[in-house]
């Protein structure tokens, strides 16, 4: 499908330690807890936030490299904004001429399509100024019909499935 490698030697960042989500740190209880799950049965609401969206997309594999989007810093938590029923995801390709950008965007779109309640509308954009053909890619990624058409292509779908074979550290086994 592709014979050209757009970025043969990307910078791989070590995955930061799971430092806990921002909101948790602030709402920390007075007591040091051994088992963080003990407050599980409490019935407070935990709305979907940017960390959660980030958790969903950071484990996606790059189509070109055996690394995740998190390790390549293609996606990051601050680049995600969450509204009541609207989510905006921005991502940064590793090089401005990266021909994989559309595919990466498509993977993000499919992952969120499968993992978010239907009430959300998701917009996916390249980081402004990070890509040569930014407009074209953005347009393609946010056009419902084009996304649907792309997923009809079995070869493309197969590549997308490969990139999505890991959900938040949980390796999926498609038997």
């Amino acid at each position: 499908m592709r014979d050209e490698v757009f970025n043969p030697n990307p910078v791989v960042f070590s995955a930061p330690k799971a430092s806990g989500r921002q909101s948790d740190l602030l709402a920390h209880s007075l007591w040091v807890n051994d088992s963080p799950s003990s407050d599980d049965e409490a019935d407070d609401l935990e709305p979907i936030d940017q960390d959660e969206i980030y958790d969903l997309i950071r484990s996606i594999y790059d189509p070109e490299h055996p690394n995740t989007l998190e390790e390549l810093r293609v996606v990051s938590a601050p680049q995600i904004t969450v509204g009541t029923n609207r989510i905006k995801v921005e991502f940064t390709p590793t090089v401005p001429h990266c021909g994989m950008s559309t595919l990466i965007g498509l993977c993000i779109r499919v992952r969120l399509l499968r993992s978010l309640p239907e009430r959300f509308k998701v917009d996916i954009f390249l980081k402004p100024g990070s890509h040569q053909s930014e407009m074209a890619v953005n347009k393609q990624l946010n056009d419902k019909e084009r996304v649907a058409a792309a997923l009809e292509n079995p070869v493309l779908l197969d590549t997308v499935e490969k990139c999505l074979s890991n959900v938040d550290g949980h390796e999926l086994d498609h038997a």
Binding site: H28, V32, D40, E52, V167
Partner: protein
């Protein structure tokens, strides 16, 4: 004679085992002789008819095989040998003849003359190619046996033996025969003069290299590919004479594409090179290195790379081992090591390139070759990398450079550790290294690598001086003062470095690091609203807990933290009012401090440090002092340390310390504990800053006393449960004491902490002294359950606690496999009909074999192995029978509850054999309304699913039920407990991997639709599982 003749005739017709047995037993009892047998066989042995002839020889060989050794004297052996050898030339009789010879060669009576005869016979007449495998195997076995017992005779043959043997072994293909042939070949090569046969030996051995044999499935001979490889390798490395012929073969095989071949060749090279010798290695060095380099710099997989590195190491070792003495300076280093080092250094000029890592690996392997090569490699690499690091033009490559340096340091340290010498090779460069690494510490991007480099440097034995350790500690401690955000990722590595140093030079850490850490801990608790402040406290505390395990450091930690604890619990007069108004933040802070102490102690306990015991006189009394004083003072005002959560952690600390105290000291301590328990005199266990603890007396069991004082029982219990069997409390009447404790639990105690503490004491005393308590136990068995558990006029809560008390008594008996344990479970089954407490009784059945923290080996309890299996063996079949019995619904339900609770608390292996009959019951149990039971069941189903596959699934027939029930349990509207929802979703996520796709296909659409709803669950952890469960359904 006549009988023998008859028997022979019968056998010739029948071929039965019985006749042989009879003949042999006749020979044994001197009723007949071998000569008679031969006479009786006479006509058959000379028969014209080949069938008859073959049978005749066969009978003789079978009799010889079974004949007792004593009956085969020299004379008969000679005759038989001559006879059998004479039959070797005939294709008809060769098989039985070889069989007979095989028996004869293992006899002690065989003489060199016969051996010669046999060898000549085999060499002359046996045509290996015409024979089937098992006959060829006989030939090899005969030679193998002769090689073992008559090697000198074979040797006297000289080259004629080899001339004869080589054609025999040529072309053999069967792995069973090859194993013997390789063993023979090794002896031949080592002990015989093969100088004229090197080439032919080489040919008959190297034709098998590399072994590609793969045993057929269920191979009953059990010869693995590895067996053959090792056997062959032992031949290939048996003589240096193979060297010149072998190396080209190895080089050729190395360029093959198969990974298995590459790896085999590399491993063989490692064993062969030292044998083939340095002269040859030097000749081929260049070519070998070029081939190896390819495997290292463009490895096909990590294993091959590893093997290639080992081969390189072997090559270098072989070349330079002999010249070790001649090497005086680096100038003397010539040849491969020099070239290879230079090549690597050339690559290292660009440390950020991907080739730099393998180049470093090569240099690192050189470090464990010969000292002079190691010295040379270090002298080339380290200064080069140091210089690179300092070069401002290369600043961008600093991380990579430091990484490579760290690898080098680690390799030097490890190679020195193997050779048990000092790290002298690094010492000329240690100043430079220290300088470079400390510079690395300053910048964020290189900090992590620099820390692990320093760690490697510090752990190299005998390299750094005390002052230098001080310097490292100084630099590391400076880092601690930086902001937390900046340090975030490095703090673990930093603590690790300090920990390494604290084992070697604790003084520096105590003097330089600890003051910084402790001074950043506030004396009073962060305010209720100060979340980040609390977070910071906890981070510092967990850092010191991790760091301070070395004896000197731990002592410091104990002093600092107990002082802090005292300040918190007994604030100065101006703060008293403020803290008494809201003691919770202070209590939470004190809780953190106690937790940190516990964590440090727990990691010391895992490492079995001996200095823990001495804290019985230091830490334990001051903890008692704090809590007892607080209990007294709490009558006047709210106290920080009367919080039960603090008491719990303090109990854990006391427990750990008492556990590690030796028996004799425990006995003394037990006396003090008894005084405190029975008379309320705490003077000998609770001394410390607060005088009030020692001036008043504690009366835990007095009904009129305060709950705060009663809570102290938990601390005492934590000590009591860790006592040895021989260190007893001084009780005049144990029965009465236990009865009092149980009665107190049921009538006086106010909370779970107190009740459980009392029951723990009861349980551990029963466990250790059961033999003296039989009347107490029998009394309980008769009266207690009637009076307390079955007594419907008592409150439900009291009856429940009576069951708890019962559980703990049974536990004490069960862990030591006491016969009474099983009788103690009986009354619980009877309660299954009692609707009020059926479920409690049922859950107790499951709790009895569950592991706990009281009756453990660490606590010196009497614990026998496999007690769980014994319990399950009796209880599980009964419960299954009860649950299937539909006549009594209350009992049936209770049995289901008991079943789930039991399965939850035992290892899978204990119930694995019952899984097929358990699954329908578990599915029924999912209908029970209790959410804890449901989540237990789903967890059990998850455990049961491990090792299942779609082809062999136990749950396939239940898939409709499973899908529907799990979906129902995963929705927040139907199931309020998030734990159950998570378990249900996890089960849905594994279902596709344990059930065939065809079975699940009809549910796919439903699952996708319903799970889409769960994606909007209010709980984050539930949504996460839903995402996974839904993702696995996509193609």
């Amino acid at each position: 004679m006549e009988t023998t003749e008859k028997l022979v005739q019968t056998w010739m017709a029948s071929g039965r085992e019985e006749e042989i047995e009879e003949i042999v037993s006749d020979i044994e009892h001197d009723r007949t002789s071998l000569t008679d047998v031969v006479k009786a066989l006479g006509e058959y042995l000379t028969a014209e008819d080949s069938n008859v002839l073959q049978k005749g020889v066969e009978l003789l060989s079978l009799i010889v095989a079974k004949c007792p050794t004593g009956k085969l004297n020299k004379q008969s052996v000679r005759v038989l040998t001559a006879f059998f050898c004479g039959k070797l030339d005939d294709m008809v009789t060769v098989k039985p003849a070889l069989h007979g010879i095989a028996t004869l060669v293992s006899l002690p009576t065989i003489s060199p003359a016969e051996v010669t005869l046999i060898i000549e016979g085999i060499f002359q007449h046996v045509k290996m190619r015409a024979l089937v495998q098992d006959i060829r195997f006989k030939v090899f076995s005969i030679i193998d046996t002769l090689m073992a017992y008559h090697r000198d005779v074979l040797k006297s043959y000289g080259r004629r033996f080899l001339d004869g043997y080589i054609p025999l072994a040529e072309g053999e293909k069967d792995p069973r025969n090859l194993m013997v042939a390789f063993a023979i070949a090794r002896v031949l090569i080592i002990e015989f003069d093969i100088s004229e046969h090197v080439e032919s030996m080489f040919n008959i051995l190297f034709c098998y290299f590399p072994i590609t044999f793969r045993p057929p499935p269920n191979d009953r001979y059990g010869i693995s590919s590895l067996d053959l490889k090792l056997a062959l390798r032992n031949c290939l490395n048996a003589t240096p004479a193979f060297g010149p012929l072998a190396i080209p073969v190895f080089l050729e095989k190395l360029s093959a594409t198969s990974r298995a071949t590459k790896r085999d060749t590399l491993q063989t090279l490692v064993t062969c090179l030292p044998v083939y010798g340095s002269a040859l290695a030097r000749v081929w060095a260049r070519k070998l290195w070029n081939a190896l380099k390819l495997e290292i710099f463009q490895p096909v997989d990590p294993e091959t790379e590893e093997e290639a590195l080992k081969a390189t190491q072997a090559l270098v070792k072989t070349i330079y081992a002999d010249e070790e003495e001649a090497m005086e300076s680096n100038e003397d280093m010539h040849g491969l090591a020099r070239d290879a080092c230079e090549e690597c250094i050339q690559i290292l000029k660009e440390p950020e390139k991907s080739q730099a890592k393998p180049a470093t690996k090569v240099l690192c392997t050189f470090l464990s070759t010969t000292p002079s090569v190691a010295k040379y490699a270090i002298s080339q690499a380290i200064p080069h990398l140091n210089q690179l690091f300092r070069n401002p033009d290369e600043a961008s490559a600093r991380t990579a450079t430091l990484f490579l340096l760290t690898e080098m340091i680690k390799a030097t340290r490890d190679s020195a550790a193997k050779a048990t010498e000092t790290n002298s090779a690094l010492s000329p460069y240690k100043d430079d290294l220290l300088a470079v690494l400390t510079v690395g510490l300053k910048s964020q991007s290189t900090r992590n690598i620099a820390l692990s480099g320093l760690n490697a440097l510090c752990s190299a034995t005998g390299l750094l001086s005390d002052e230098e350790y001080g310097y490292v500690v100084h630099n590391a401690s400076e880092l601690l003062e930086r902001s937390r955000e900046e340090l975030d990722e490095s703090s673990d590595l930093l603590i690790e470095l300090l920990k390494t140093i604290s084992d070697i030079a604790p003084r520096h850490v105590v003097e330089q690091t600890l003051p910084i850490l402790f001074s950043s801990l506030p004396d009073s608790a962060p305010a209720r609203t100060d979340g980040p402040g609390r977070e910071k406290c906890w981070q510092i505390l967990s850092a010191v807990a991790k760091l301070c395990t070395q004896a000197e450091l731990f002592e410091n930690l104990v002093i600092r933290l107990t002082t802090k604890l005292d300040l918190l619990c007994f604030p100065s007069s101006e703060q008293v009012a403020a803290i008494a108004a809201d003691p919770e933040p202070s209590a939470a802070y004190a809780h953190m401090i106690l937790k940190a102490l516990y964590q440090a102690l727990a990691s010391k306990a895992i490492m079995k440090h001996v200095d823990i015991a001495k804290y019985l006189d230091r830490l334990v009394p001051s903890l008692f002092n704090v809590f007892v004083s607080s209990a007294f003072l709490s009558e006047e005002r709210p106290m920080v340390a009367s919080e039960p959560r603090l008491i719990e952690v303090a109990g854990q600390i006391i427990n750990l310390v008492v556990q590690s105290v030796p028996l004799q000291k425990q006995q003394l301590y037990a006396a003090s504990l008894s005084q405190a328990l029975l008379e309320g005199d705490v003077r000998s266990i609770a001394y410390g800053f607060q005088k009030v603890a020692t001036t008043r007396s504690l009366s835990i069991f007095n009904e009129a006393n305060t709950p705060a004082q009663r809570n102290i029982l938990h601390l005492l219990a934590s000590a009591v449960i860790a006592l040895h069997k021989e260190a007893r409390l001084s009780l005049t009447n144990v029965d009465a004491f236990l009865d009092m404790l149980i009665g107190w639990t049921l009538t006086v105690a106010d909370n779970d902490l107190q009740k459980l503490s009392a029951l723990h004491i009861v349980s551990s005393i029963v466990n250790r002294q059961v033999d003296e308590l039989l009347s107490f136990l029998n009394n309980k068995l008769e009266l207690f359950q009637a009076a307390e558990i079955c007594n419907q006029s008592l409150s439900l809560d009291r009856r429940r606690w009576a069951i708890k008390a019962w559980t703990w008594l049974t536990k004490a008996l069960l862990v030591r496999k006491h016969a009474l344990a099983m009788s103690f479970t009986e009354p619980l089954y009877e309660r299954f009909n009692d609707e009020a407490i059926a479920w409690d009784a049922a859950k107790a059945i499951g709790e009895i074999p569950a592991a706990d923290k009281v009756l453990t080996k660490a606590n010196h309890a009497d614990v026998k192995i496999l007690y769980v299996q014994r319990y399950v063996g009796v209880v599980l079949p009964r419960l299954i029978a009860f649950s299937k019995d539909g006549e009594n619904p209350t009992k049936q339900t209770a049995s289901l509850v008991a079943l789930t609770s039991l399965i939850k608390s035992i290892p899978k292996a204990a119930y694995a054999h019952e899984i097929p009959s358990l699954i329908p019951l578990l599915l029924r149990g999912l209908e029970l309304p209790d959410s804890e039971i449901r989540s237990n069941i789903i967890d059990t189903l998850l455990v049961a699913a491990e090792g299942e596959s779609p082809e062999k699934s136990l749950v396939a027939e239940h898939s409709t039920t499973l899908v529907n029930t799990m979906l129902k349990n995963s929705k927040v509207q139907d199931m309020p407990s998030s734990r159950v929802r998570i378990s249900a979703l996890r089960y849905l996520a594994i279902l596709p991997s344990i059930v065939k796709y065809e079975v699940l296909h009809p549910y796919k659409a439903t699952l996708l639709r319903e799970l889409a709803v769960v994606l909007d669950d209010p709980k984050r952890s539930v949504r996460k599982e839903a995402v996974i469960a839904r993702s696995v359904l996509f193609p």
